[in-house]
Amino acid sequence: HTEPRVGGGPVGTCRTRRLHVSFREVGWHRWVIAPRGFLANFCQGTCALPETLRGPGGPPALNHAVLRALMHAAAPTPGVGSPCCVPERLSPISVLFFDNSDNVVLRHYEDMVVDECGCR
């Protein structure tokens, strides 16, 4: 389930967008015990100036991203484009499930949830 404005219309600046992953949707609900789903989120938005310059409280902007946004604004070059809006901070989840030997398994997976996006 994503935010309603993702498809079409102005996308706005690069930021985290809600994306809920439901294990039922992908057909894993019979062997995944918990969670039923989780907020994985994703990144979307433009990386132009001045958005590429991080606002107060965020991580410092990547110089290369600022340079690229500057160049794209000054002299757009086909194929180069502006920086990309990508995950910058991620967090883990744990999944409880039945495996094929009917064991109950708890596994820890890193980098499964996008907490913060940035221009790179």
């Binding site: 495996d99 094929n100 596994r107």
Partner: protein, 211 residues
């Protein structure tokens, strides 16, 4: 079908080499696994500090995979009933460890037994554990644990029946014998399971062995 395309690739990334069956044999989830899940789930744990991805805090060991493995072949044979020589039945339990990948290293292997006593008197109960090789004859006694009041009975097998710093065997067969001690009665083994914690060195650094 998950065996094709991106779903298979994702399962591979999640460390599931084979596609899970669509309808597993459902069984109650053991309370210990719920507790561990809740303590490791960032949304539920609500802990101020980040969780250590390669550590199972509640069990106090390194590891990123915890499995609750039910016995897959409980059998018992009567040797001599307790009322004559003080011995009780001997049990054989078998654990299927084929789902553990060879690269995984065990950091905790806890045998959990639920014994049902014939009477309240379980004083002095002791359980001896031995490996059961193919030839049905138990090997030497590996360890002996006392049965605490208010069962269940637990025994740590790492370093005895399960070698540390090595791949786990595909099958673990144990011979268990109950020694009644002062209590002149025996018990019945109602349930046996193995709580196995492993560490995948591709995702987590191996703990350094104690000097």
């Amino acid at each position: 079908p998950a065996s094709l395309g991106p779903a298979a690739a994702l399962l591979q990334v999640l460390g599931l080499p084979e596609t899970p069956r669509s309808v597993p044999t459902l069984r109650p989830v053991p309370p210990v696994m719920w507790r561990l899940f809740r303590s490791r789930n960032p949304q539920e744990a609500r802990v101020g500090r980040p969780l250590k991805p390669c550590h199972v805090e509640e069990l106090g060991v390194a590891g990123n995979i915890v499995r609750h493995i039910p016995d897959s072949g409980l059998s018992s044979r009567i040797i001599q009933p307790a009322r004559t020589s003080g011995l009780c039945p001997e049990w054989t339990v078998v654990f299927d460890l084929s789902s553990v990948e060879p690269i995984e290293r065990p950091t905790r292997a806890r045998l959990e037994l639920r014994l049902e006593a014939e009477s309240e008197d379980t004083r002095g109960w002791e359980l001896s554990v031995a490996l059961l090789a193919e030839a049905e004859h138990p090997g030497p006694e590996l360890l002996r644990v006392q049965a605490p009041p208010g069962l269940p009975l637990r025994a740590d097998l790492l370093g005895t029946a399960v070698a540390a710093n090595a791949s786990v065997p595909r099958t673990l067969r144990l011979a268990l014998a109950l020694h009644p001690g002062a209590a002149a009665t025996c018990g019945r083994l109602a349930e046996a399971s193995l709580l196995l914690v492993t560490l995948d060195p591709r995702l987590c650094p191996l703990p350094r062995s104690r000097r």
